[in-house]
């Protein structure tokens, strides 16, 4: 699955199945752009990974529900349940460690 941009309407459906990495981001946020590059590279390497991007300005309801105070903000889901939550721009190695635990 390629990277998908969520809306307030389809968010819950997108995270309901499998392992999903959710990136809450803003268009003008510098650290969000850094994380976006990391996620692009992860998607190249692990194309079976589900990545959902949530623009906090476009998805106010979802952002409020998750009380997003700062961006980027990363959530790791497995079958609809949040397993990890990582605020801030984390590096690829750190995300890989998390994914290894969740995927396998």
């Amino acid at each position: 699955m390629a990277t998908i941009y969520a809306t307030d309407e389809n968010y819950k459906e997108l995270v309901s199945e499998g392992v999903v990495l959710v990136d809450f981001f803003g268009k003008t946020c510098g650290p969000c752009k850094m994380l976006a590059r990391v996620l692009e590279e992860l998607e190249d390497e692990f194309p079976f990974l589900n990545i959902v991007k949530v623009d906090v300005d476009e998805c106010p309801k979802t952002s409020e529900e998750f009380q997003i105070e700062g961006i980027p903000d990363l959530y790791y889901y497995k079958d609809g349940q949040v397993l990890f939550h990582e605020p801030g721009a984390v590096d690829g190695a750190y995300i890989r460690e998390r994914l290894a635990k969740i995927l396998y």
């Binding site: 590059r37 190249d44 692990f46 194309p47 105070e69 939550h85 890989r96 396998y104």
Partner: protein, 281 residues
């Protein structure tokens, strides 16, 4: 301030690396080139498995992790199992073999394989990327994009070296000196930090009592309230020690000034020293 310096280490004595390479590695250029070619990438089915390919495996083993009817693995990705991933190199689709992981036998069947292929970058791709990305708006050819990538890399390395050395020198002084901390001053900073932390949590509708160990670690780097208190104590000591050191280096008498009054004491002496000694190749 009532806290004072017993003995102060000299930052000139700190063992730090002063020379740094600015040569941009080919690996970095290649990964940055992928930003140009990513929209044009395609998937192929390989004859033989190579590093970077994605395979779907059926695994049979006594070990639970290696007993799955269907699992996606990126070969060489290192997040499933490096030992098994190495054994997949050169295998064909449909091939079945007896592998071994951590001393246990694993029957492996390669059910599917796919390879992501990036095309060679060209000027059209660079121009398209330039239109979408303001920071590369002037890079309308592959060559100009590559030059910008190298320039950005070198700037980043210069910045990293500068702040890395600054930080190492400060850490050397703070950890090799002997300080006498005044408990009242420490408590005052700790109380303020604790208050700020609680205020921040209230604003986002959380409280320490309700947070899981995982959340506490994510927010504060410590998994227990006791751990957070210890962390705050360390930060308070660090803050006072830094203020005393900077006061000394700036020729100020810390005993006659408050912590707030010392906040203006700068690090220009250190910046100048680092700038004069850093070397790049």
């Amino acid at each position: 301030m009532k806290s004072y310096i017993n003995s102060l280490a000299d930052y000139h004595d700190a063992p730090v690396a002063w020379e740094y390479m600015l040569t941009c590695p080919q690996e970095h250029i290649d990964s940055q080139m992928r930003h140009l070619t990513r929209p044009y990438k395609r998937t192929e089915t390989p004859d033989r498995v190579e590093r970077g390919d994605v395979v779907v495996l059926a695994l049979e083993s006594e070990k639970e992790k290696f007993n799955r009817p269907s699992v996606y693995v990126t070969v060489g990705g290192g997040i499933f199992d490096r030992e098994l991933e190495e054994q997949l190199l050169g295998r064909g689709i449909g091939e079945c073999f007896e592998g071994g992981v951590e001393g246990a036998a694993v029957k492996v069947t390669v059910q599917k394989a796919s390879r992501t292929v990036f095309p060679e970058p060209d000027d059209e791709m660079a121009a398209a990327y330039a239109r979408e990305h303001e920071e590369f708006s002037a890079c309308t050819t592959v060559e100009s994009y590559r030059q910008q990538v190298e320039k950005n890399y070198q700037e980043e390395k210069r910045r990293e070296a500068f702040f890395g050395v600054m930080s190492s020198l400060a850490e050397y002084v703070l950890t090799h000196s002997d300080w006498e901390f005044d408990e009242e001053e420490l408590h005052s900073i700790e109380d303020w930090m604790w208050g700020e932390m609680e205020r921040g949590l209230t604003e986002i509708g959380k409280s320490l009592e309700q947070m899981t160990a995982e959340e506490l670690r994510g927010y504060f780097g410590a998994e227990t309230v006791e751990g957070i208190r210890k962390e705050i104590r360390n930060q308070a000591e660090w803050q006072i020690a830094t203020a005393l050191w900077l006061a000394h280096e700036n020729g100020l008498d810390a005993s006659k000034l408050s912590l707030e009054e010392l906040e203006g004491a700068g690090r220009e002496f250190l910046e100048q020293y680092v700038q004069e000694h850093l070397k790049f190749r």
